[in-house]
């Protein structure tokens, strides 16, 4: 099978080039493929929508710039959705690279919607200790984070006087890229403090979160850029995730084609050997 032989010897850089073109072209010339909102993303939206105005929500941004394309759009959408409903946000990060990213989302969208730092939102910043931080945070926000991200004592922030543990909050949203992340928050906090929890995670991690979703430990799930795009659609504010979906779909089609082609060559070779 000459065709199969030549493909087996194909320089893989041609495949890299094709994937790059399949991503680049739909970004330049959008195909506007339809986007349906899946069950887990709809449940995520409905859980945020059900939070009463004036409530406090904890947002843990456990990621760094490496997973920004997937998790920044969903962070921005969650912040926008909560602020639009006049819900207040206490943010924290357990990844070193997270604080500036979450801080930028809070300040940019907060400024746009007229929210005031310390009253409508607080960014507590980063704390090392990974999952050891989680039960400590569940017991006392202020003891775990004596200062916020910019070094201001939390005792000087009015919002922090209203909630020092999860009993005073309506919802917990975790945007997670890995360890520590949603798995650890479920293990250390969700059951122990009876927290209503949502998860937005990288696509790589999403299959590990589905059992928690099925068990009701997590009420809604946004998986990867597709989940972020579905949430953007739900809140009616298309962003970078929605605009990346055409590129995502075209690259997926190509990879599926390669998998089928590879299998066809494998089985034809096996038949030849017999």
């Amino acid at each position: 099978m000459a065709f199969g032989t030549s493909l087996e010897k194909l320089d893989r850089r041609w495949i890299f080039l094709l994937v790059a073109l399949l991503v680049l072209i739909p970004l330049l010339f959008p195909l506007k493929l339809p986007l349906a909102v899946s069950g887990p993303a709809r449940h995520f939206y409905e859980a945020v929508e059900a939070v009463p105005a004036g409530s406090i929500v904890v947002l843990a941004g456990d990621f760094d710039p490496a997973s920004g394309p997937e998790l920044l759009p969903m962070t921005a959408s969650v912040v926008r959705h909560l602020f639009r409903k006049n819900v207040r946000i206490i943010a924290l990060e357990l990844w070193e690279g997270g604080p500036p990213l979450v801080d930028a989302a809070l300040h940019d969208i907060g400024d746009e919607l007229g929210k005031k730092y310390g009253v409508d939102y607080v960014n507590l910043g980063y704390k090392s200790g990974r999952e050891a931080v989680m039960p400590s945070f569940g017991n006392s926000f202020a003891r775990t984070f004596p200062n916020d991200y910019s070094g201001t004592p939390v005792s000087a922030l009015p919002l922090m006087a209203e909630a020092d543990n999860f009993s005073k909050t309506a919802l917990f949203v975790n945007i997670s890229a890995g360890y520590p992340g949603t798995k650890e928050w479920v293990q250390q906090v969700q059951g122990r403090f009876a927290v209503r929890m949502l998860s937005g995670s990288t696509a790589v991690q999403a299959p590990e979160i589905y059992p928690y979703l099925q068990a009701g430990q997590v009420l809604g799930l946004l998986g990867g850029m597709a989940g972020a795009a579905e949430y953007e659609k739900s809140i009616g504010v298309p962003g970078p995730a929605t605009k990346g979906m055409d590129a995502q779909s075209s690259a997926h089609m190509f990879i599926m084609f390669l998998i089928l082609l590879g299998n066809a060559i494998y089985f034809s070779r096996r038949r030849e050997r017999r």
Partner: protein
């Protein structure tokens, strides 16, 4: 088209292209970007750890008169210092006390959290009704779930040779595992393509200003 005038954006764009150049072949530009990333990351982590953790949680309360139970911070600080004893071979054994405390704390935390979230809750979630006349589709999903859990557990039962009924059940468990691996692979592909899309969006929008995302 509105090319960025921001120096930082140009640096980020150049480093992105340096990293992409590895796809063609290894080269000095890629090496430069890789080493720069490692160095900058290490410096960033040190600064974050000092100002966000060491200072507010240890040094500041330890140095402030009137901090409640101030002695606790000195005890914590002492155990932190013991970790550095590893750098002196004759005293390296001292670091074991701190490491023992860390391991003991983490093991305790992990066991309790894991038992509740991964064992009790997950077992409870598999105890679902196999038939409900009001929800046949849901019943079908429940049957798939319960059969999947049982057959996969049987596959990991190695005390008896997988033959006969046990072998057939274990084989079904393998099919379930294969489906889960396929799903995991699909999600991984989605994640990696998303990262490429993110960089492309940065180059086209923030740097070149060809398209606005």
């Amino acid at each position: 088209m509105q090319i960025s005038m921001d120096f930082g954006v140009w640096v980020a764009a150049a480093l992105t292209l340096f990293i992409f150049s590895f796809l063609y072949k290894d080269n000095p530009f890629y090496k430069f970007a890789e080493h720069l990333f490692v160095g900058v990351s290490a410096g960033y982590v040190v600064v974050q750890q000092y100002w966000q953790v060491l200072w507010p949680n240890l040094l500041q309360p330890a140095m402030t008169a009137g901090t409640p139970d101030r002695w606790k911070f000195f005890v914590g600080g002492f155990f932190c210092v013991l970790l550095f004893a590893r750098m002196v071979p004759a005293l390296s054994w001292l670091s074991r006390y701190t490491i023992a405390a860390l391991i003991g704390t983490f093991a305790g935390l992990k066991v309790t959290g894991f038992a509740q979230a991964e064992v009790v809750e997950q077992v409870r979630a598999t105890m679902v009704p196999l038939w409900s006349a009001a929800d046949p589709a849901g019943s079908f999903n429940n049957v798939i779930l319960v059969v999947g859990v049982i057959t996969t557990l049987v596959f990991f039962f190695f005390s008896k040779e997988h033959k006969g009924a046990l072998g057939a059940t274990a084989r079904l468990g393998i099919w379930y595992l294969m489906v889960s691996f396929g799903a995991a692979y699909g999600f991984t592909v989605m994640s990696r393509i998303s990262l490429l899309i993110g960089r492309m969006q940065f180059l086209l929008d923030d740097w070149l200003g060809i398209v606005r995302f």
